[in-house]
Amino acid sequence: MSVLEISDIHKSFGALDVIKGVSLVFKPGTVTALVGDNGAGKTSLLKLIAGIYPLDRGDIFLEERDLSMAEAGSRRSLGIEMVYQDLALARNQDVITNLYLGRERVSLGGFLRRGEMRERGQQLLKDMGINLPALNRPVGAFSGGQQQAIAIARAVMFNPKVLLLDEPTAALAAREVESTLALINKQRDAGRVVILVSHRLNDVMAVSDRIVVLKHGQVLTDDPTGNVSLSQVVERIVS
């Protein structure tokens, strides 16, 4: 049974066709890697699924519900979360503010229920094995890996069905990459659809169940990770 289905989606920016008729089906508990050369349409595809860009044509279904016209906020509340390459964190604000961004717990009059938010945020970070020295520091004061972990924690905080990750390991040191890949594995184990865009093919081979190669906005190949080698993937990307 599929959780997410995209059907014949198209997107152009002016005269440039960035996505040309992509159709894919995603099952729960799988990590799908989207790979391809620069300009292949990987990030654009993620942003179309997240609702950051509106579709020109085609359909997106989440558990058979048509989300094609839904905007980013609605898709988020229905269970599609994205971790952006630049993380989309408010760097002057603290960890809890960032975790609850757009979903703050409030009482009558819109007053923040800080205690409740802090308690739940702390518990979530603990459950995810994320150790941060202080939750009331601005997130800009944390390391790249810690910021990445905060962005992933924010994305999974409200139990999404689909998790979109754009270059989650691009700017991380080796040890931070390991912990980020472990976090991705945990999301698969939790039964989520994980769609990963990465240029780091070693990471892709380590964590994904399926590799989709995109070229000029179209699906070139779509294989289980076990059926292809790293060199074959590279060949397809540069072919």
């Binding site: 408010a90 757009g102 703050e104 409030v106 009331n136």
Partner: protein, 325 residues
């Protein structure tokens, strides 16, 4: 200790530290000014003069409280003083023809005119996607011109006494303008530091893409921010009108820049994401004391403007050094 205090104030530890530094800097500056002017003028440290400083600062404080929301969101509102003038003039025109109306209605009209101007600015921002600097500059011209048109070029005098009592009387021994300013201060503090709206405003200034990606409707949010700024400008117009017993179309010229100066003195980042209400009020008090002290020393108004400029540049340089430290 710092953590507990920062939590009570609704600020993160890093922001709290910077805000505390900015607060301490303003306190030190205020203290130096007070000591200097106390030595220089025997009239400075008197009850009536302190009351005068607070009362005369109330209009600027209300404009600065409106501006702090806009600046925290990464925008700028240059129309606050013109909106203040328009609110006062419209209300004075209404009371010229209908002096029997309740004085509460005057406050409501001022706040409504201001809010309407803010909503128009917000809608124009959403429609044009132009920078707030441009839209608010346009609104400055439009609202100032409307104030002149409504007033027919001259101040509208002789408001009913029940209206002017708001600006010239007292509430529980506190001058009316100061009482209004304190209420606005408490409301602004609660909104910016303890509500979802305040959080979204700071996040919008911090990273507008993050705000949008997390489902915050940033165009609606900007309209709300400008509506708050407009409402407080309208209330400032009410205070100005009731203090001077006139709806004056020339009211508050250059106050928009003074309001921005006060917000920046209070430690706000002009590019958004960082601002505090307490800091802004401290900034207003610094400017109020400086102007009052210079007046007492009979310093020419040209030099007063010069001093304000020097203070702003010094504050910006100190802020820069603090960020680098």
């Amino acid at each position: 200790m710092i953590t507990a205090s920062s939590q009570k104030l609704g600020l993160s530890k890093g922001r709290f530290r910077r805000a505390a530094l900015s607060f301490a800097r303003n306190c030190a500056f205020l203290l130096i000014l007070c000591v200097f002017f106390s030595i220089s003028s025997r009239y400075f440290l008197t009850f009536s003069n302190i009351e005068n400083i607070l009362t005369s600062s109330s209009v600027l404080a209300l404009l600065a409280l409106g501006s702090v929301f806009v600046i925290a969101s990464g925008g700028i509102d240059l129309s606050v003083a013109a909106v203040m003038a328009l609110s006062g003039v419209v209300t004075a025109a209404v009371y010229r023809d209908n002096p029997e109306l309740s004085s509460w209605l005057a406050l409501l009209i001022c706040a409504s005119v201001g809010t309407l101007c803010g909503v128009v600015s917000g809608i124009l921002l959403a429609l044009t996607r132009a920078p707030s600097f441009i839209i608010s500059l346009g609104m400055l011209s439009v609202t100032r011109a409307l104030a002149y048109i409504v007033a027919n070029g001259a101040p509208i005098y002789d408001l009913p006494q029940n209206v002017t009592e708001w600006g010239q009387g007292t509430v529980l021994g506190v001058p009316g303008p100061v009482a209004i300013m304190l209420l606005a201060l408490i409301g602004s503090y609660l909104i910016l530091h303890h509500t979802r709206l305040g959080t979204h405003i700071l996040v919008l200034g911090d990273n507008s893409f993050a705000a949008e990606a997390m489902g915050i409707r940033i165009h609606n949010l900007r309209t709300k921010i400008f509506a708050i700024s407009g409402a407080l400008s309208g209330v400032a117009g009410f205070v100005f009108m009731t203090r001077t017993n006139a709806g004056d179309p020339t009211a508050g010229q250059n106050y928009e820049l003074m309001a921005i100066t006060a917000v920046i003195l209070g430690g706000a980042n002009l590019f958004g994401g960082k601002a505090t209400i307490i800091g802004t009020v401290m900034g207003v008090l610094c400017l109020g004391v400086l102007q009052n002290g210079l007046n007492l020393l009979a310093v020419s108004s040209y030099y007063q403007v010069l001093f304000v400029g020097v203070v702003l540049i010094s504050a910006a340089m100190l802020e820069r050094f603090e960020d680098m430290a």
